[in-house]
Symmetry: C2
């Protein structure tokens, strides 16, 4: 290559930058308001009493899961059937809108009629995320306070005008991204008497530019993960950020929640991917920087404090993110281990070796069983092969079906990078007696993530209530946290004399040099329990208490919202809490951004 | 390995953690007060008029650099000789101490007599870092305001008591680490009328524990880099943080300046290495967290704002850092390229390939020449070989001695990791016509870093004034920044009719996915210039102006201190500046931590 042909020769940013077209026409209409996900996807019980996967969007679409309900009845020790349902009463009673007439008039001057709405179901949708409390409430209860108005700004000037109007008329503003949080972060403070406006950022959803030399892109904060992915791919790039919610969550939401992606080993977490961002402050001015990146030391940086601010700090309007070329190779894989302890030791050694694949996750035995139960039964030769494999693994090789665990793998990179990682990983796995179980199982395990949220809403109608929670913990605490949380849940369950058996399972989803992220699913059969959502919350809180006692963090990537606020004092010194309170007061003395996450009432 | 033999089986932290002994007896006495570094090291002109490297601490010790002065006379176009000196007048006049009697009495109750001092030279040393302004001032001018008292706390309780006393008696506190900053960060505000106390943290210098399972260590903030390195190495570990100042700077200083290490490609920058820290606030309480690591999402985190706070936020007392095992293999290397543009293109492609060595640095032609001039001449066969090599490179292969550049490499890791990186890197180098130039040159280039600061102080006595500054910039801006800064310096120099030729050279010292760090050295011959230090500052400011215009950041890792404060408004919106001001006011309304970095006077 001559020097003049090299990418760095293209010095004119305006000439080299790509300005993509608009994203795919908004597909918000394709999403359900009452449950997770797309309208055309989900689960239902068919006429034969078997669970069926709906739609064509996912690989599993059309699968008939004959083993699922029998398995569920066994592990929950509960009479779950297709027929016995708890039909939801969505929509619940929705509170009337509080109207600040002067502000409403101002909003009429900023937003066209179709970019603002006081429709009750839209207001409701903007007043919750996807915790079990919230999903239970919209189906079987109610949400006492929801936004009074929803607006969809399409540019930064509208956001600024809105904030200034809110400041003038003392209105509370709550930014809204994809509405996928699982922390009650969007729940409106019950005692908020001001008019509450939800700012749905999905009106600002464009990729403003792609720089193919610097490998950066400037993207509006309301852009949805799936659109970012598809639009960047058209130009050979990716952001690499793949949280479980990537189909529906937004760039701004990722920053505001300090998000983590499943492929962070290769691409980094959100704080490593985002190079810069713009935010509209409570004064209606733009918080921004004008000098270069990628990394700098220019004094204490309040922008770093915005990561995880969950709506308290202002409205993020756009960000400059790192790009990666689409990987030449993507290969899935999986490995079986005899038990969770051995699997965890494998994960530790893999992290120590320093070059793990883009994603590596270890599921415990119960979750391994779940993934098996979510497979459609094989037919013909495939069935024979599958049975023979099971026999080989369980009888000849001595894997106990009630102890064995699985590790799912996603390798991305050049052929050479992937080959090196595979060789390293499978070598370590072998030292731990691991057995390769193929790419198909690996892909299934990875994609299962996207189905889980649908399953949760589906089973709630069948008397099963469920939720996930997570933590990060130093390596030495991984096994203790997993064991103690399971035991604590069991103890609390027994002490309350609750029906059947609790379902509690975990996986190690992220590895770091000094520790790991652990992700739990917890569920139980709630028929006959008076206040199942509250009971669930109690047990979930007990689990969190146990996590903290065992040395885990309060959250690895879900965040605090309101659900974890009562624990803040347990993890932060009074001075740290006071600093946060002081920072917030300094930048938003009128509490215009009054979503109330990390609520002051827990402070001293 | 059986599961019970695995490191993760060691669940009892108290049992597995290593408590190292105290660090090597304080070697502060080995350090010079008036210039950089150890008393036994440095440069001098010997009786033959040649520059000689003093001491045995560094590999170059004892070298006679016969080519250096002739080369210097050429590139500066100036009559620099060994005899013609500008003898320093150190110590300068040192201002009398301001004494707050009530506070001084309180300090007497907190600190033993040997842990506090009002010795003028010690007070002076604690009132400056290593900018050219400061070094020029202590030799040829004066520093108008220095701390009035120095204290050496040995535990956190003393720091707390000190802060409370300062609060009660309205005294200004300035934390001091290694005193190596190059941003005027330790310069006392001239208009500070309160008593100023320098808190020398080197009294808190212990490694409190090493966790060999989690690969973490808890280290007191005053521990010096060289002691951290040697003490961790005794147990097979390293922190991997190697700033140019690592011999003298401290852990707390690294956090406070958002430092970067030369081997960050493998070990990360300071914000990636530090997992947690404790800080004493202006109220005298401990800012700390109680939950686990390694990564979390627990709301907006003021601790992230402390990185880069440069003494404004409080006193960092200890930190938990990541550890890495000592690498099995460390190999140096070097590659020659025909010119800087080609070398930069190589660096870009290397960064794109994603697996660079621990350290890779590209020096421009002038810096390459400097490294040659700093070599002692070869004798006998080595001389013949060296001449033959020069002939080969310059005549047969067509490398122009006035254009060619060099890249120095440090590979660390397992033999396999290093081999993979070498193969990848040398393959990319070959595509750019690069020629391998061996490990010896690589090591020399890398170690040169540690000599430069000595050289700067040495040449100041010989009428040469010098300083380094740095920036980070997106890849597309690397060449423009280098070219424009050199041109701007030349233009400013010419416009002022200054003597001889300015010396301005750069290297690319860090690669990132989206950009790089560029490090400049600037020097000129100042004999006959009335106010050389001021002229230097003017030109340095012009260079910074040019960096910003060309898209660079205000600083990659040196920080702001006071030297870059006038530029803050250029890189931050008013709202960002106001947020910082608001944060500071919220946590330290009495400005007890009144070092005045990122000074409010530049704010609006």
């Amino acid at each position: 290559m001559s020097a003049a042909q090299h990418p760095l020769y293209a010095r004119d940013a305006a000439a080299r930058r790509i300005i993509p077209g608009p994203p795919p026409a908004s597909t918000v209409e394709d999403e359900r308001l009452d449950v997770w996900g797309f309208k055309d996807s989900g689960f239902q019980v068919n006429d034969e009493g078997n669970v069926e996967v709906l739609g064509k969007r996912y690989a599993a679409g059309g699968d008939i899961l004959t083993e699922l309900l029998p398995w569920v009845r066994g592990v929950f020790d509960s009479p779950v059937t297709g027929e016995d349902q708890n039909p939801p009463h969505y929509p619940p009673a929705i509170p009337d809108a509080v109207v600040n007439a002067a502000f409403t008039a101002a909003v009429g001057n900023i937003f066209a009629a179709e970019k603002r709405s006081d429709d009750p179901e839209l207001r409701l949708r903007h007043g919750h995320g996807h915790t079990q409390e919230e999903m239970y409430a919209i189906k079987y209860g109610r949400i006492p306070r929801v936004p009074d108005l929803v607006v969809w700004p399409t540019d930064e000037a509208q956001v600024i005008a809105l904030v200034k109007a809110a400041q003038e008329h003392n209105v509370c503003l709550i930014p809204y991204g994809g509405g996928t949080n699982v922390t009650n972060a969007l729940i409106c403070p019950e005692n908020e008497t001001r008019m509450i406006v939800s700012i749905d950022m999905q009106g600002m959803n464009k990729i403003l530019w792609i720089d193919p030399v610097d490998h950066t892109a400037c993207i509006e904060a309301g852009a949805i993960g799936r659109n970012i992915t598809s639009q960047l791919a058209e130009h050979g790039f990716m952001m690499g950020h793949e949280p479980d919610s990537v189909e529906f969550s937004t760039l701004g939401g990722w920053i505001a929640t300090h998000a983590s992606g499943m492929k962070k080993n290769r691409y980094g977490n959100i704080e490593q991917i985002v190079q810069d961002f713009r935010l509209i402050t409570a004064e209606g001015s733009v918080l921004e920087r004008f000098d270069g990146n990628p990394r700098e030391s220019t004094g204490a940086d309040p922008r770093r404090w915005v990561f995880g601010s969950e709506g308290n700090a202002g409205i993020i309007t756009s960000a400059i993110v790192k790009l990666f070329p689409l990987p030449a190779v993507q290969r899935y894989g999986s490995v079986l281990f005899k038990d969770f302890e051995i699997g965890t030791q494998f994960m530790y050694d893999l992290a120590r070796a320093g070059n793990p694949p883009a994603s590596v996750r270890l599921v415990d035995n119960l979750q391994f069983q779940l993934s098996m139960a979510l497979k459609p039964p094989k037919q013909g030769m495939a069935k024979l092969k599958s049975s023979a494999e099971k026999l080989l693994v369980t009888k000849l090789l001595g894997y106990d079906p009630n102890k064995m665990v699985a590790c799912t793998l996603v390798f991305e990179g050049t052929e050479e990078e992937v080959s090196i990682q595979e060789k390293l990983l499978y070598g370590i796995a072998k030292r731990h007696g691991g057995m390769k179980a193929g790419g198909e199982n690996g892909e299934r395990g990875y994609q299962l993530t996207f189905a889980i949220a649908y399953i949760r809403d589906f089973i709630m109608n069948h008397w099963l209530i469920a939720e996930s929670f997570e933590t990060s913990v130093p390596w030495s605490g991984v096994l203790p946290v997993c064991e103690r949380v399971k035991q604590r849940i069991q103890d609390e369950y027994t002490a309350r004399g609750l029906p059947g058996k609790p379902f509690i399972t975990c996986r190690v989803t992220q590895v770091y040099d000094t520790g790991a992220c652990i992700y739990f699913y917890f569920a139980f059969y709630y028929k006959g329990i008076d206040n199942p959502s509250e009971v669930f919350s109690e047990l979930e809180h007990a689990a969190r208490d146990e996590i903290l006692k065992a040395g885990g963090s309060l959250s690895h990537h879900h965040g605090i919202g309101k659900i974890r606020t009562p624990f803040l004092r347990r993890i932060q010194s009074v001075s740290l809490i006071n600093w946060n309170r002081g920072f917030k007061k300094a930048i938003d003395p009128g509490n215009i951004f009054g979503v109330g996450n990390h609520a002051p009432e827990s402070r001293e």
